[in-house]
């Protein structure tokens, strides 16, 4: 299975994940714990493949809803839980492409939707980056979030946080620099 290695690497221990999945299968209210662990990965995977933030949000919602509905059907067969989520995501993207009848490459046989290892590695890498943003110093985090997640201009941000445009640009620079040094540290810390 293509998804096995990269997903198991860098995510939680399989035993722990098994327990979480089993708990959520018994009590759907515990699905939230699985959601917390995998949200960024699935969002990162989807957002790279769709045109807009709105679509990415819609599809991410759909993936977790489908996962919740079908959770009892998930079985451990060597595929980690996140691999299953990626499969659902890949299907959701294909369904969406059909709905909007956009042309999508590699779509000859939808039954054969495979999730490439490299795409998963990329999603996991970016998911880690998204989480590192939360650990930035508050003023840098605010600028990074407003700029990237909210898509605001430097001027808008300057107005919102009451700093000069030059200061905002500097905070943006420092934030990215900070993220870079965090990314280069070995994964496996708090979020690893």
């Amino acid at each position: 299975m293509v998804v096995k290695a990269p997903a198991a690497k860098g995510s939680r221990g399989e035993a722990e994940e098994r327990l979480l999945v089993a708990a959520a299968q018994k009590d759907p209210l515990r699905f939230g714990e699985l959601y917390e662990i995998h949200f960024e990965q699935i969002y990162a995977y989807i957002s790279r493949r769709v045109g807009s933030r709105e679509t990415a949000e819609d599809l991410t919602s759909e993936v977790f809803r489908r996962a919740l509905t079908n959770l009892t059907r998930f079985e451990w067969r060597g595929v980690p839980f996140v691999g299953w989520l990626f499969r659902i995501a890949a299907n959701a993207i294909v369904d969406e492409a059909k709905r909007s009848s956009k042309e999508v490459s590699d779509l000859e046989d939808p039954e054969e939707i495979a999730v490439a290892e490299v795409d998963i590695a990329d999603a996991i890498h970016r998911a880690r980056l998204f989480r590192l943003v939360e650990e930035l110093p508050a003023d840098q985090r605010r600028v990074v979030v407003l700029r990237f997640a909210e898509g605001k201009s430097i001027r808008q941000i300057a107005g919102e946080i009451g700093r000069s445009e030059g200061a905002v640009k500097q905070l943006q620079f420092r934030g990215l620099q900070n993220l870079r040094s965090q990314v280069e540290k070995k994964p496996g810390g708090k979020n690893g």
Binding site: Y35, T60, R126, F148, I154, L176
Partner: protein, 486 residues
């Protein structure tokens, strides 16, 4: 600063990424950029997809609601292609009865020249039921003629207790009381006047077939360990008992004894090194736990508020002050016919002391002690108690501004009062002990209503089988069945 230009350069690249002018990943190929900016631009490209902060939280809340819905859908979706066909003596009267008793809607009827109903269809919930008068020559005979029917109808409804009450007032009989079942439903049997039995149910918690099988096995095994003929509610207890937790548990016990004349029934030290005591105050019990001098108990106090009827409000008020309580309101006559005072004891509990100005010191049927909750919003708490414990609301007083000032909730044979938080009266999550006939069923029903488990039901050496849940408002509910008299 020589670096100013670097900030500008980086922002130009970021702007291009955000506006889509630059394709992610191709930034490294751009000429004229400071070499050490390249990795930062790469990061910026990856961050273009940074999720909006409120989205993650919003979706989580949506999923939580969705998972609660999968847990407890009072009427499960059931694609129906088979309809029951009932033969009755006097179909016209039966249709009227089903309308009155079950809220049925008549879809149509075909009358025979002789005046009998040859065929009729009614809808109950989303399901069609067909019926006709007796036509023995065509094999159509009613249960009344046959002397009974082996066939029962199963009916899922939103609120089985309310449904049964309505049916009974329309002339149905309850042949098996409405009760929580181990398989997650709350259900009972209703016999209609035409010889048919209806199993009416509201789905509580969704329980898997596997889990039901397991519970069945446990239930089959348990009677050996149980005494027969044990009342599930021990003598002297009501359905609901408030459990107060205080740092100085013994001080609180002395307070209720000295001020209210409560009678100590039981006092021990638990395994966690804390006090457990039970005192009787009038016709109700209060459980008290917490710290004792030199004990190893460590926990958080859980004070609450009570409405207590006493024969002499003024005397109790004075004794409370003498015992160290603070006055919240000195005794005064109220326009609703009670003389009341309010105090707060040293452990943080509020006591509304009242003497009813009637024949008795309390109005007919009132318990001596009622817990009084002050949630921020009453409605969701009441909704939870209805779904989890089959609570009934007895009457509500809502001010013109929408604030629920007072309402009474009945759980089993016990009452609780509630008024939305105001002034000194703010939410105090409280611990309750419930005695019910089947703690396992009620425990699972409470989980189905959105509570989280504190402890799964287990047999305890003090003669109760009990489990615990916590509701989203922070109240803890220990749900017990008394299984062995000690």
């Amino acid at each position: 600063m020589a670096n100013v230009n670097v900030y500008e350069q980086l922002d130009e690249a970021v702007e291009a990424i955000i506006t889509g002018a630059s394709v992610a990943g191709s930034e490294t190929a751009r000429a004229g950029e400071d070499a050490h900016l390249v990795p930062l631009i790469g990061l910026a490209a990856a961050l273009r997809d940074l999720p909006r902060q409120d989205f993650k939280a919003r979706l989580k809340a949506d999923l939580r609601r969705a998972s609660m819905a999968t847990l407890a859908e009072p009427v499960p979706a059931m694609g129906q292609v088979v309809a029951a066909y009932l033969t009755v003596k006097d179909a016209a009267r039966a249709i009227e009865f089903y309308k009155q008793a079950f809220g049925a809607v008549e879809k149509g009827r075909l009358s025979m020249p002789t005046g009998e109903i040859g065929h009729a269809e009614i809808m109950i919930g989303g399901s069609t039921i067909m019926l006709s008068d007796e036509f023995p020559e065509h094999g159509g005979v009613s249960p009344e003629t046959l002397g009974g029917s082996p066939m029962k109808m199963h009916l899922y409804v939103d609120d089985v207790d309310a449904f049964a009450r309505r049916a009974v007032s329309a002339g149905a009989k309850i042949t098996r009381p409405i009760a929580d079942q181990f398989y997650g439903d709350r259900s009972g049997y209703i016999a209609d006047p035409f010889g048919y039995t209806w199993i009416v149910a509201t789905r509580g918690a969704m329980v898997s077939l596997e889990e039901i099988q397991k519970r069945l096995a446990t239930m089959a095994a348990r009677p050996e360990r149980r005494q027969t003929g044990v009342n599930p509610v021990p003598k002297g207890y009501r359905t609901l008992t408030t459990y107060l937790v205080a740092r100085d548990a013994d001080g609180l016990i002395d307070f209720v004894k000295n001020v209210f004349g409560a009678e100590e029934k039981f006092r021990s030290v638990g395994s966690a090194g804390g006090r457990h005591a039970e005192v009787q105050l009038g016709d109700s019990m209060i459980m008290i736990g917490g710290g004792i001098p030199g004990g190893s108990w460590k926990g958080d106090p859980l004070p609450s508020a009570f409405h207590v009827y006493v024969s002499d409000c003024d005397a109790v008020y004075q004794r409370a002050l003498d015992a160290g309580a603070a006055s919240i309101q000195a005794p005064a006559d109220q326009e609703y016919g009670e003389r009341t005072a309010q105090v707060k004891d040293a452990s943080g509990n509020f006591w509304y002391v009242a003497t009813y100005k009637g024949e008795n010191y309390k109005w007919a049927g009132a318990p001596d002690v009622q817990p009084y909750l002050h949630p921020l919003r009453a409605e969701p708490v009441i909704h939870f108690m209805k779904r989890a414990f089959g609570a009934q609301e007895m009457g509500r007083y809502t001010a013109p501004d929408g604030v629920v000032h007072h309402t009474t909730i009945k759980i089993g044979d016990s009452f609780m009062e509630m008024g939305e938080a105001q002034g000194v009266y703010q939410p105090m999550p409280t611990m309750f002990y419930l005695y019910v006939p089947n703690c396992d069923a009620l425990y699972h029903r409470a989980l189905g209503a959105g509570a989280t488990s504190i402890a799964e039901p287990t047999d305890h050496d003090y003669g109760d089988r009990s489990g615990g849940v916590k509701d989203v408002f922070g109240n803890q509910w220990y749900i017990a069945t008394h299984i062995k008299d000690m």
